[in-house]
């Protein structure tokens, strides 16, 4: 043995990269599992404290979505997509060695068709990892806005998958496959008013029969008198169950001015109230834009509008590739998404970024409270489902927040056309 040990030549070899990545992936999965276990234990304690002593007596957790479809879709529904997405996000945040950054990003750009000449940062070494490169900004002026003031602008770089009118409350995903507007946006979307519950009847009365300027003035007076409801950073609307939040970033004064002007122009043509103008009959329209992996992944406001509510559907994280959109009916109503509801000059306006397995995190610049693809929101959704079950009510499937700002009298967060709203981040 001594002879063998002494005479055997020791050869050092690097561990294969794949093995290293696999090990780190497993380690991350283990950590996620441990966190989930801890969260479940915390939930057990909380439920026990709330009177559900016996585990069997407790309402069951939110059921995982099991969509119908071909075997590939069935198989996919059994994959831990959210965990995969989180591991993918973590992996993409690992620092890439300095000298590998430029060739790595160039290879990525070549594969996915990224135009490097329009990237704001010419030195690719600045991006420490793929996640930061993926969320890159563009040079000023790289995306000129259409000069037509009446145009609906494209919010992102991508491909138009579908567009058209909404008939009988149904949106067509791909020819022959439809889903209801209510399933996509949540219930009662066209009739919301975005106001906290404690608005007085007189204030409502003022709103009904006045011009925009009078309404703004009334809003200002109302805000002065009832400042608490506008200035509290976080409160709860007991009627709708919505959380009232201050938009984290205040609307720019130019945005407020532009939205005000836009609404004032429309005011001459139609009533402020929804679906109430006899002169201009309106319809509901939709457009779906698909962002490929190489596309610029920040999104911008398509029009000047006021965002009043945010609804976060925890959902799942299926891929939203055109193949899956063809094969999985109602894909957008299954996936995690953030529905922003508001108003523009013609009435109702909604903007819905839909997450996918690789780009699980949706960021809204003016909403720092929003957490998507997070264990915390999953737990909150489970809790909400439990509470709804305990009350004997169906779970609505989303958490809601109402945007209020002390300085904004438009009743929400004003966005100018072309203004950056947020984006999609890896994992």
């Amino acid at each position: 043995l001594r002879e063998a040990l002494g005479k055997t030549k020791i050869v050092w070899k690097p561990i294969p990269v794949g093995l290293g990545i696999g090990f780190l992936g497993l380690l991350q999965l283990y950590k996620v599992h441990q966190r989930e276990k801890a969260a479940a234990e915390e939930e057990d304690r909380r439920s026990a404290a709330s009177g559900y002593g016996d585990k069997d007596e407790r309402p069951r957790k939110r059921k995982r979505i099991r969509p119908s479809g071909p075997w590939t879709v069935q198989l996919m529904s059994y994959l831990p997509l959210k965990n995969i997405s989180r591991v993918w996000g973590w992996f993409n945040e690992l620092k890439i060695p300095y000298y590998l950054r430029v060739p790595g990003f160039k290879l990525y750009s070549w594969i996915f068709g990224v135009n490097l000449s329009e990237v704001a940062e010419p030195d690719l070494h600045v991006y420490p990892n793929l996640a930061s490169f993926f969320y890159r900004t563009l040079k000023p002026g790289a995306r000129p806005l259409s000069p037509d003031p009446s145009a609906l602008l494209s919010p992102a770089d991508g491909k138009v998958l579908a567009f058209g009118t909404i008939e009988h409350g149904e949106v067509e995903q791909i020819k022959g496959m439809t889903y209801s507007l209510e399933a996509l946006l949540g219930s009662s979307s066209p009739t919301f008013d975005g106001e906290p519950e404690d608005i007085s009847a007189s204030h409502k009365q003022v709103e009904k029969n006045t011009s925009l300027e009078e309404k703004i003035k009334a809003d200002e007076e109302f805000a002065n008198i009832n400042g608490i409801s506008y200035t509290l950073p976080r409160s709860h609307d007991s009627k709708s169950g919505a959380t009232i939040v201050d938009a984290s970033t205040k609307s720019k004064s130019s945005s407020i001015a532009e939205v005000r002007a836009d609404l004032a122009i429309a005011e001459g043509k139609r009533s402020w109230l929804f679906f109430s103008s006899p002169k201009a009959p309106t319809g509901l329209y939709y457009v779906v834009i698909y962002l490929a992996p190489g596309d610029y992944h920040r999104f911008h406001s398509p029009v000047s509008w006021v965002v009043k509510k945010r609804r976060h559907f925890a959902g799942e994280l299926y891929s939203v590739s055109p193949y899956l959109q063809r094969t999985l009916p109602g894909l957008f109503t299954l996936n995690e998404r953030v529905v922003l509801l508001g108003q523009w000059k013609h009435g109702f306006f909604s903007f819905t970024p839909v997450g996918a397995t690789n780009v699980g995190s949706i960021v809204i610049n003016f909403d720092k409270e929003l957490r998507t693809n997070s264990l915390l929101t999953d737990t909150e959704a489970d809790r909400a489902a439990e509470e709804a079950a305990a009350r004997g009510e169906p779970y609505c499937g989303y958490s809601e927040a109402v945007y209020q700002q002390a300085s904004t009298v438009l009743g929400g967060h004003a966005l100018r056309r072309g203004e950056e709203m947020g984006g999609f981040q890896l994992g």
Partner: protein
């Protein structure tokens, strides 16, 4: 990832016979300027 925009817009009005209606489509309503499968970039007009 995908973005779905749902919005309300004018349907347009059919001119009355008094205004010289000759069987044409609705006037002044929402008009798309895109096609299915078309590539678009931030800021391009999708409709007006």
């Amino acid at each position: 990832s995908s973005i779905v925009i749902v919005f309300e817009a004018p349907k347009g009005q059919r001119p009355t016979f008094d205004q010289g209606y000759q069987g044409e489509d609705l006037k002044g309503g929402w008009q798309w300027s895109i096609k299915k499968g078309m590539k678009v970039k931030v800021g391009e007009a999708l409709g007006r």
